[in-house]
């Protein structure tokens, strides 16, 4: 767990939240299951940092990816309580070092048309290119851009776009899968 509390690579620590944990919960894909899961968090006073839900490859099940703040929450007690829910099938706890975590952001950002005052489309476009994002919509005085990547990278992207004037931002919350086991990819050296 200590391996990811690092200042060496800010993209690993994530969103300025130094101690978080990702819990991947496989649930039956049925009405009301998400409500059960979120109600349990509310009832026990556990705070959710982010949450993402989608069906798995098997339509009978969904994966709920929950990021919790380790400062506030006993993950052990949380997962035990979660597992008491009848519709919860499997729980995987992942520290950032053990997980491949990705998130997607859509950002509408102000930029001037060619010749107009202020930063141009080109400047914003350049930033998007550096981060490996893409422009997904173009308006007269704004662009909507998309970036998928590690949550910390999205934080940086958001920070760098901010001076241009962010009109609206939507992030998905992170999704995660455990890292594949390889002899060389030990926990301590791993980077998600």
């Amino acid at each position: 767990m200590s391996s990811f509390v690092t200042t060496g690579n800010p993209w690993v620590s994530g969103s300025g939240r130094a101690r978080h944990q990702t819990i991947s919960v496989i649930v039956e894909n049925r009405a009301g299951v998400l409500a059960r899961v979120s109600a349990l968090f509310a009832r026990r006073g556990f705070n959710i940092i982010s949450l993402a839900v989608a069906p798995t490859d098997d339509d009978a099940f969904s994966r709920i990816t929950i990021v919790v703040d380790l400062e506030q929450t006993s993950v052990e007690q949380l997962t035990k309580q979660l597992f008491k829910l009848v519709n919860v099938v499997k729980i995987t706890e992942m520290t950032p070092g053990e997980a491949i975590e990705r998130e997607l952001a859509l950002v509408s950002v102000r930029c001037a048309p060619p010749g107009g005052p202020g930063p141009s489309r080109g400047e914003v476009g350049e930033l998007v290119r550096i981060f490996g994002g893409s422009v997904v919509d173009v308006g007269h005085e704004a662009l909507t851009v998309m970036l998928a990547g590690q949550p910390a990278m999205l934080d940086d992207f958001e920070e760098l776009l901010r001076p241009y004037g962010i009109i609206e931002i939507q992030r998905t919350g992170r999704v995660a899968l455990p890292k594949l086991e390889r002899p060389s990819a030990r926990r301590s050296g791993a980077r998600g």
Binding site: G32, A39, Q77, K80, K84, V89
Partner: protein, 580 residues
């Protein structure tokens, strides 16, 4: 064979060997009340749905089988909530069936619509809104399985009216189909062998062990196994409020109830133990007192079927997830095979016996001509009633006295609301207990405050010929609150006075079809109890006028350490000890 949803529901309940349903009809559940006429299932028509829920609990407590209650949508379902929460806290197997408005109008604020599944989500082990008639049989099978296995608890099925009216082909799912329909539900019942061995190692090394037996012993039908373990180890046994009767009070090793109002020896034995063997218990705050000072030198072996209990309050040195009976039997087997000499506990026992000698349960003796001592009334009922009498209580001082002064020799003879502390539990729970075990005398020890919350169910008892006996310890106060105000709020009594004769309990009970008596004089206590015990054709209510100054001792003040337990003033050094 085509059945309506309502017919399928009743047939499913029959297939699950339901003997009795406690309920009230209403609009949305109406379709179910037609096939119930043709069913061998007995329906007990209650006067308030909360009563139906507590009756189902009382039935489940004494039989070990799930209690079934039924109510209509909206207010019917919301009235069940208290009982469901009670059953959830005390892990009581209950199956609740509620009607719901028809599918097309769900979510439109239709007449008597309530979000029952949403409202009861946090007070049930599981619940489900059944949206197709062909799913009813599976839902009922799931409900009974979930209610009774693993850590038992209440399960609610919400059934829209048009689902009950629609027809579908009847099909009774197989065990494997039920299991496959619950892919996330696999309770662990067998203890981990390495953990069992580790527990045995700690047990043989311990010189001050205590077996801390909780309600899980009763739920797991583990009382015989517990007795074997206790006698093999020679360790003292404390039985929590939920476990009274799990180990006989007359047994030399039984120290009685631990906790806030426990026996001094039970409290101190836990506090001074070097090993606590927690079996189906959950380190409730009423047992531990201030957690950080609870049993500071004890290692802990914690056995529970619910993994979430292990480490929730106190981190165990040896956690064992499993069914209490199976794990205890393993502990006994491994301990017996270990060949280790029984540790010498004589020093520990001499300490414990010293506590028992110096600080027994104590109250000032009844004086002729003075108000009744509530403890003496309970002892008189105890001494006059048949062995295996089922004792039921409400919540408050009378509950603590009942637990303290009754002598529990048999399992499943004590029914009370432990976790939730639901005032008004006694009358309906007693009715359910009598329906479940009609061969046993059922006495409810109730307070005057509690009695007024659910007394109308005595109408149910009279109408259905369920002859329960209710002893109201009428001190004209909300006694436990009064005790706290006396001790911790400088005797500033606020909103606790109820009056001894408003209502007139005798007239009220008679109006509800009961035999009723009032006892004010100590000399009349025993004769009136005998009279009550001789009446078996209708409920009996006795209004015992008791002394409102009596307090429950010992007492660990809320938030205090168990080491700071307050004993009865008459037992304190220098205090006058009246030997009875």
């Amino acid at each position: 064979m085509q059945l309506t949803g309502a017919q399928a529901l009743i047939k499913s309940l029959e297939m699950e060997r339901t003997e009795v349903v406690f309920g009230v009809p209403g609009g949305a559940i109406l379709p179910v009340y037609d096939p119930i006429l043709d069913s061998p299932i007995r329906h007990v028509l209650v006067r308030h749905e909360q009563g139906a829920g507590h009756m189902a609990e009382g039935y489940a407590h004494v039989t070990g089988r799930p209690g079934v209650c039924m109510a209509t949508s909206g207010p019917g379902a919301t009235n069940l909530v208290t009982a469901l929460c009670d059953a959830y806290m005390d892990s009581v197997p209950v199956v609740a069936i509620t009607g719901q408005v028809s599918r097309p109008v769900i979510g439109t604020d239709a007449f008597q619509e309530g979000d029952t599944v949403g409202i009861t989500r946090s007070v049930t082990k599981h619940n489900d809104l059944v949206m197709r008639p062909e799913d009813i049989a599976l839902a009922v099978r799931q409900a009974f399985l979930l209610a009774t296995t693993g850590r038992p608890g209440p399960v609610l099925l919400d059934l829209p009216k048009d689902v009950l009216q629609a027809s579908a082909e009847w099909y009774w799912p197989t065990d494997s189909e039920v299991a496959a329909s619950l892919p996330g539900y696999k309770p662990t019942t067998k203890g981990h062998p390495r953990m069992v061995r580790e527990a045995v190692r700690l047990m043989t090394a311990s010189r001050r062990p205590v077996i801390y037996a909780g309600g899980g012993i009763l739920k797991a039908r583990a009382t015989e196994a517990l007795r074997k373990l206790a006698e093999l180890t020679g360790a003292p046994v404390v039985t929590t409020l939920m476990a009274r009767g799990a180990f006989p009070d007359s047994h030399r090793q039984c120290l009685g109830m631990p906790g806030m109002h426990g026996n001094y020896a039970a409290i101190m034995a836990l506090q001074e133990a070097d090993l606590i063997i927690a079996l189906g218990a959950r380190f409730d705050d009423r047992v531990t007192g201030k957690v950080s000072t609870f049993a500071p030198n004890a290692k802990v072996v914690h056995v529970d079927i619910d993994p979430a209990e292990l480490g929730k309050i106190r981190r165990p040195d040896v956690p064992i997830v499993g069914d209490a009976r199976l794990v205890i039997e393993e502990l006994v087997r491994v301990l017996g095979a270990s060949g280790e000499a029984e540790p010498d506990l004589s020093q520990w026992w001499s300490v414990i016996d010293g506590w028992r000698e110096r600080f027994p349960l104590y109250y000032e003796a009844q004086v002729a001509g003075e108000q009744l001592k509530p403890q003496a009334v309970i002892e008189a009922i105890r001494d006059a009633s048949p062995a295996e009498t089922t004792l039921v209580s409400g919540v408050g001082q009378h509950q603590m006295w009942a637990s303290q002064y009754w002598r529990f020799e048999q399992p499943y003879t004590w029914v009370n609301s432990g976790g939730l502390g639901t005032m008004g539990f006694a009358v309906p729970a007693a009715i359910g207990a009598k329906v479940g075990r009609p061969d046993r005398t059922v006495w409810a020890i109730d307070g005057d405050g509690c009695f007024q919350m659910t007394a109308q169910e005595l109408v149910t008892a009279s109408a259905e010929r369920i002859p329960v006996k209710v002893a109201i310890l009428n001190n004209a106060y909300l006694g436990m609150v009064r005790q706290w105000q006396e001790m911790f709020y400088e005797e500033r009594y606020s909103e606790v006075y109820l009056s001894p004769d408003l209502p007139d309990y005798v007239k009220w009970a008679e109006a509800m079809g009961c035999a009723a008596f009032r006892v004010e004089n100590p000399a009349d206590v025993a004769p009136v109890i005998d009279k009550a015990n001789s009446i078996d054709d209708r409920p009996v209510v006795i209004d015992f006028r008791t002394d409102s100054r009596e307090k429950v001792f010992p007492m660990v003040p809320a938030g205090a350490s168990n080491s700071d337990v307050i004993v009865h003033p008459g037992l304190r050094p220098g205090g006058e000890r009246v030997v009875q």
